[in-house]
Symmetry: C2
Subunit: 335 residues, 2 copies
């Protein structure tokens, strides 16, 4: 076994799966498991978090909300190569979907945030994203009577603080799971939920070794892996991946394996958004992660399978935000 093949086998074991030949083994033994509906949601908290997720007043400009870059009408991302932040700044990296992000082992491409609560504080104060500050955000929310009341009702405290803000947003994000994909229907026994081509695609996905990294409930999200295992990745950027967090050279170009749930909706692909289509992303993955060149027909079948991973999208009423009060600080988009 050469180093690359060993690394790959290691990746597969780390993820706790084995490559299963064919799909005749029975749906209960599959390396991918159905998405579970969200459990134990504090409804009051998540309703508050939903408003915050849509509220552009959490940005300096009053123009950018979480939903600007994680648009829940579009699969929870922005479908841009890299994001647009405050003052139209070009972001450094592709915006990952917030759908099913509660299933991730950590947040961000390099996993630098442990969980959704820790993550949610980031963008508000990031000068390249919402360009606000936690103090300003908390003061702003506290000045809006209806928010003030809702925070008090949910958290039982007189004063809004940033912990409550990030807790509420994280609670809302926990609801953003997407059950009922056709693939899950098949896993749960509906034999005719998938076409022959889609099943062939799944077989290829397993036999080729994709499931070594993309497996479990989120079909990814549960390990960090090297981008360019067999052949170096030639992306157009300077990010170095997980090593920026761990300081270890071995983690260079390691990224969190993205979920492939709803991947049909989250183009463009990879941390640098360099692949416009699934066809391209599958081709790149085959070559640089597995040393495999898929035929056009094989590629199309894998893509067909990946599109069966689109689940029920978030389904709720557009939130209505409480108006600012006379003393609520006004946004300053042009300063």
């Amino acid at each position: 076994m050469n180093i690359k093949a060993r690394a790959l086998a290691g990746a597969m074991m780390a993820a706790g799966t084995v490559v299963i030949a064919g799909y005749a083994v029975g749906q209960t033994q599959e390396p991918i498991t159905p998405i579970q509906p969200p459990k134990q949601i504090n409804l009051g908290m998540s309703e508050l978090g939903k408003k915050l997720f849509f509220d552009p007043r959490l940005s300096k400009s009053g123009f950018i909300s979480c939903n600007s870059c994680h648009n829940l009408s579009m699969g929870g991302s922005d479908n841009l190569q890299t994001s647009i932040g405050d003052k139209w700044q070009q972001g450094p990296i592709n915006s990952p979907t917030v759908l099913n992000s509660s299933l991730n082992l950590a947040q961000f491409w390099d996993g630098r945030a442990a969980d959704l609560k820790e993550q949610a504080g980031g963008p508000i104060a990031n000068p390249g994203e919402m360009a606000f500050s936690h103090t300003l955000a908390v003061d702003l929310l506290g000045s809006i009577p209806a928010y003030q009341r809702e925070f008090k009702q949910v958290f039982g405290k007189d004063k809004v603080d940033i912990d409550q803000v990030t807790l509420a947003i994280a609670e809302f994000e926990k609801t953003l799971v997407t059950p009922n994909a056709r693939f899950d229907q098949w896993l749960l026994g509906k034999q005719d939920a998938l076409s022959k081509d889609e099943l062939d695609g799944y077989k290829l996905f397993k036999e080729s070794g994709c499931v070594g990294c993309h497996n479990g409930e989120a079909v990814g999200g549960n390990s960090f892996q090297k981008m360019g295992l067999v052949e170096p990745y030639k992306g157009n950027e300077k990010a170095e991946g997980r090593s920026a967090v761990t300081g270890k050279d071995a983690d260079r170009f390691n990224y969190k394996v993205p979920t492939l749930r709803n991947v049909e909706l989250t183009y463009p692909y990879f941390h640098d958004g360099a692949a416009n289509t699934l066809t391209e992303a599958v081709d790149v993955m085959g070559r640089i992660q597995l040393g495999k060149k898929f035929t056009q027909d094989e590629n199309a079948k894998i893509v067909a399978f990946l599109k069966t991973l689109t689940g029920d999208q978030p389904s709720f009423q557009l939130p209505i935000l409480p108006p600012s009060a006379d003393n609520t600080p006004r946004p300053t988009p042009f300063k």
Copy 2:
């Protein structure tokens, strides 16, 4: 009668109303009438229009949708002094609400668009707003299979065109009326829907002459009037108003009287967004339109009345947009 008073009386007659003393005259004779629910909506068309209203792919950047500047979570405007357009360009004028805009005699502050259909073509191609073009928009939508099918279903034609796009958006906008405000409940006979202060405010609003211009179903939107009738308006911008459309000097500084429906939500106020609060807007109106200085108490009562004009906000599921296809042109935010 001096010239200014004559102009005001003219304005009142043009709007077809008289100033009624007090509110004891009975709710059926009021100069403000309740908002009617939308009628004769083509549901298929308006559902399609809703998607288009939320779709940032109608902009060059892929980042700005109608809902960016007419946020239906925030009263149908952006709550900015002037809007942020493509590449963070600072817009020239305050974004008016799209709520109840179907009731306007014409669209835009200067009325340069006859109706919602005519209006909807504007922002897509406006270099300072969405910076796209009608041809690009139509090509883009036509490349998205689910849109292609939906357009065909609604309009019965094989090819998407810009007329269908603006018709659908306008049909959706017709649904954006806001019935059931507390003031309307009172108009319809619910005597205790308003507090004593709110009723006093309404009495002042009528007796002072505000209803001369702000009347009817939308409490405005049905005439052009001079901004600065009694005393010149000292705004911080260069717009000249309706004369830009008619070429007539007499129309200089004439603007469409804005609806006061949901005015609690559509701060900041005036075409230049110069007034941050209702207190300030009411004070300015009193002085420069009527030559009246309200006491703090009077002002507060009028503001209390204005807040009773907030109606039921749009209530629908967040629309889910169909994904782009491999050949759908990608956005170019940084070019």
